[in-house]
Amino acid sequence: DTAVSQTPKYLVTQMGNDKSIKCEQNLGHDTMYWYKQDSKKFLKIMFSYNNKELIINETVPNRFSPKSPDKAHLNLHINSLELGDSAVYFCASSQAGTGPLNTEAFFGQGTRLTVV
């Protein structure tokens, strides 16, 4: 049973289109994240949500809009896709907090987005 699952795993789309990536976790975690891995393999956080509330927004363009309908789901919607958006997008979850409650992040398998 997959702990953090993302769909789709691969996404090829044309410039200007709007697309969504879905993420679900069955670990009972309070916090979910979106990370972007670029072509050089560099991973950087985009957003984090804690109990459906946006906690971190790391200067991501407004074309990216996360949505968390409940604490087990965090979707990423991207408007007006650009060539530079091509990357692997990872969803993750953790039972995060301060001090000893901060635990490891569990990652989904990633979604490879290719904009043509």
Partner: protein, 113 residues
Amino acid sequence: AQTVTQSQPEMSVQEAETVTLSCTYDTSESDYYLFWYKQPPSRQMILVIRQEAYKQQNATENRFSVNFQKAAKSFSLKISDSQLGDAAMYFCAYSPYTDKLIFGTGTRLQVFP
């Protein structure tokens, strides 16, 4: 700003030998977590080992161990008895108590038979 540096873009090791991957970080915090993640060609991010900054004892997980030097802000990963399945990208990551991971640029490890 909090940063993580991995100065070795690529490393190679022979099967059954030992290899050490380097990582340094910069922070003004006193309490934080450090991680090593492995990313094989399957793309899955897999946690290898975790270290709490308030613990002086170095973490170990089977063949994987770390050398944590808090004053030097250094966090290296040692892989003993290397196996072909250890071949992957390895990412060092720092986590303040603010719920995010800050990653280094990664080290690609090749394992030769």
